[in-house]
């Protein structure tokens, strides 16, 4: 199978990745080769086999809801590209 450039652009859009034209062409070829290789899984009979999303025994981890120490606002905002008034600053989401 071969991924088209349009498909590569669609996936890149879903992943919020800006790609150069060169990257799009390269990934179309490389991802096609990897997906071709992965298609050998279709040959495995998995009728009645449950999926494994985790190797851990199925369990729900609960704890008491007790307030504890947490990071300071200064620590939390310390790595922010832009912060203002104790908040992360981002470009406008809604046009005013």
């Amino acid at each position: 199978m071969t991924l088209s450039l349009a498909e590569v652009e669609h996936i890149a859009d879903l992943a919020r990745l800006a790609l150069s034209d060169d990257e799009k062409t390269r990934f179309a070829g490389q991802l096609s080769a990897i997906l071709d290789y992965a298609r050998r899984l279709q040959a495995v009979d998995t009728t009645g086999i449950p999926p494994t999303s985790s190797v851990l025994p199925p369990q729900t981890i609960l704890r008491e809801d007790e307030p504890g120490a947490c990071l300071s606002l200064e620590d939390v905002l310390g790595n922010a590209p832009q912060a203002e008034a104790g908040q992360f600053r981002v470009p406008p989401v809604l046009e005013g």
């Binding site: 997906l35 495995v44 851990l56 590209p81 981002v90």
Partner: protein, 494 residues
């Protein structure tokens, strides 16, 4: 004063306690060796000399007080220098994960595994180089340049924890931390001739480990011997309420000193791990080591892990799928790189396009595709079902044997640039290490020979969940009668 290059982790502890060497002398000597060898190796991304020396002085004060009052408790590894893969956070020291997107990220907390070792007295001298976000098998995918193999500077150290493996192999530090999602501890340990432990999934906390494939990621160690790995294992392992996937399973004490014989331990040799096309010297060395285990009292028999050939496609769908979700957090909002734009979505796209390297983009794309509408069931869903079959293979094998012995990789260290243009060829290097991550079982890699070019060959022992002590004990007994793990690259003498 002994040279730190000549001291194992346990000998370092002894030398510090007896006062043969002070922690400051030790740390200064390590930093001096790093200065001298780093131009050849590039094992580190960030060094922390001032912090390390200040901690060494503090350790020396406590050591002198302890010598006056030896009944007072002393942390097990007080004053011992180690290195930490740049995928684990250390409070106040930048954590790049080998990526430009985290070039200036300074974490406000330490990983639990790091914190536990700090509490035991270790001193971190630096953060080691790695494939970006732990995605790779050669450390060539680091945004900060490749690490070179101490045994042959034209070759890769393996990956993704190549910096940690090279640092221990070149005797820059007695131990280093790494992470293993698909072989990222065991394969570089094999390529660099050191001992590398990947623990059972859930054994070590992942808190503070930058996430790649969350159902596969584990934290482990590189050392010069199994005995040294056991020391760190016991200190790091155990339940952490901050990681919901860490398990509340008792951590055994591991006493190896009196172990000399493998009384009837059953070793399985999986026929699927000896494949056409693998380097003949690797097969010969691993089969030779298995014979040695037999002569030491182990009972060797063939076993089968019939779904082994599917581990590679399963892993390269599941890990990228998990990565595509985990790496969604790098959006330029809360931390890391931001490429400014007029609207948020454009900011996300440009930030991620500029901040991630080619392999990370490739895996995000692959994972996004495998999870996307119309392809989910055929790719991700089917991979999860075949993962169940791979796990069952191990469950069944461990009904028959205690340990599985196999090669770590089909070849010894390959040349820098050898697989640069062919991602699939690079993925094939992981064929023997991926199954343990998919099944969640522990693995221990250690050297069992050298090829004709003087490159180390590794073997891995895999065990049932939580059987790390059995693997460590078996490797320790092997290392009592062999000296592959004591060999040093000639670079050490530079």
């Amino acid at each position: 004063m002994p040279s730190p290059a000549d001291l194992s982790l346990r000998e370092t502890v002894e030398a510090l306690r007896s006062g043969q060497i002070s922690s400051r002398e030790l740390v200064a000597a390590c930093l001096e060796r790093i200065d001298r060898l780093e131009p050849h190796l590039h094992a580190f991304i960030t060094l922390t000399p001032e912090r390390a020396l200040a901690q060494a002085d503090e350790a020396d004060r406590r050591l002198s007080a302890w010598r006056r009052e030896p009944s007072a408790p002393l942390p097990e590894l007080l004053g011992v220098p180690i290195a930490v893969k740049d995928v684990l956070t250390l409070e106040g020291v930048r954590c790049t994960c080998g990526s430009r997107i985290l070039e200036n990220f300074v974490p406000p907390y330490s990983a639990t595994t790091v914190e536990r070792l700090l509490a035991a007295g270790v001193i971190v001298v630096g953060k080691t180089n790695m494939d970006e976000f732990a995605m790779g098998s050669s450390t060539e995918n680091s945004a900060y340049g490749a690490t070179h193999n101490p045994w042959d500077l034209e070759r890769v150290p393996g990956g993704s924890s190549g910096g940690s493996a090279a640092a221990v192999a070149a005797r820059l530090v007695p131990a280093a931390l790494g992470s293993d999602t698909g072989g990222s501890i065991r394969q570089p340990a094999s390529f660099c001739g050191v001992t590398g432990l990947k623990v059972t999934y859930g054994r070590n906390s992942r808190y503070g480990l930058v996430a790649y494939g969350s159902s596969l990621d584990s934290v482990g160690v590189f050392t010069r011997s199994a005995a040294d790995a056991a020391v760190l294992f016991v200190l790091m392992a155990g339940y952490d309420p901050r990681d919901a996937t860490s398990l509340d399973v008792p951590v055994p004490e591991v006493h190896l000193e009196r172990e000399e014989y493998l009384h009837g331990l059953r070793v399985g040799v999986p026929r699927e791990y000896f494949i056409p096309g693998m380097q003949a010297e690797v097969e010969a060395a691993v089969r030779g080591a298995i014979e040695t285990l037999g002569s030491l009292g182990a009972v060797v028999r063939e076993v089968s892990l019939p779904h082994t050939e599917y581990a590679l496609p399963v892993y390269y769908l599941i890990a990228p799928a998990e990565a595509s979700a985990n790496l969604a957090r790098y959006d330029g909002v809360r931390f890391g790189l931001r490429v400014p734009a007029d609207d948020p979505v454009e900011m996300f796209r440009l930030t991620r396009g500029a901040g991630f390297g080619p392999e990370v983009k490739r895996r995000i794309m692959l994972g996004t595709y495998a999870l996307s509408a119309g392809y989910y069931e055929a790719y991700y869903g089917q991979a999860q079902k075949v993962r169940t079959l791979i796990k069952r293979d191990f469950d069944e094998a461990f009904q028959q044997v205690d340990v599985i012995a196999a090669p770590v990789a089909p070849t010894t260290a390959f040349r820098l640039g050898e697989h640069s243009d062919d991602p699939l060829a690079m993925y094939l290097e992981d064929v023997f290490t991926l199954p343990a991550n998919l099944a969640g079982v522990p693995g221990l890699a250690f050297p069992v020979g050298f090829d004709g070019q003087g490159l180390p060959i590794g073997m891995q022992l895999m065990g049932a969940p939580f059987a790390e002590a059995t693997l460590l004990r078996m490797a320790h007994v092997y290392q009592q009668v062999t000296d592959w793990h004591r060999r040093e690259p000639t670079l050490v003498k530079l």
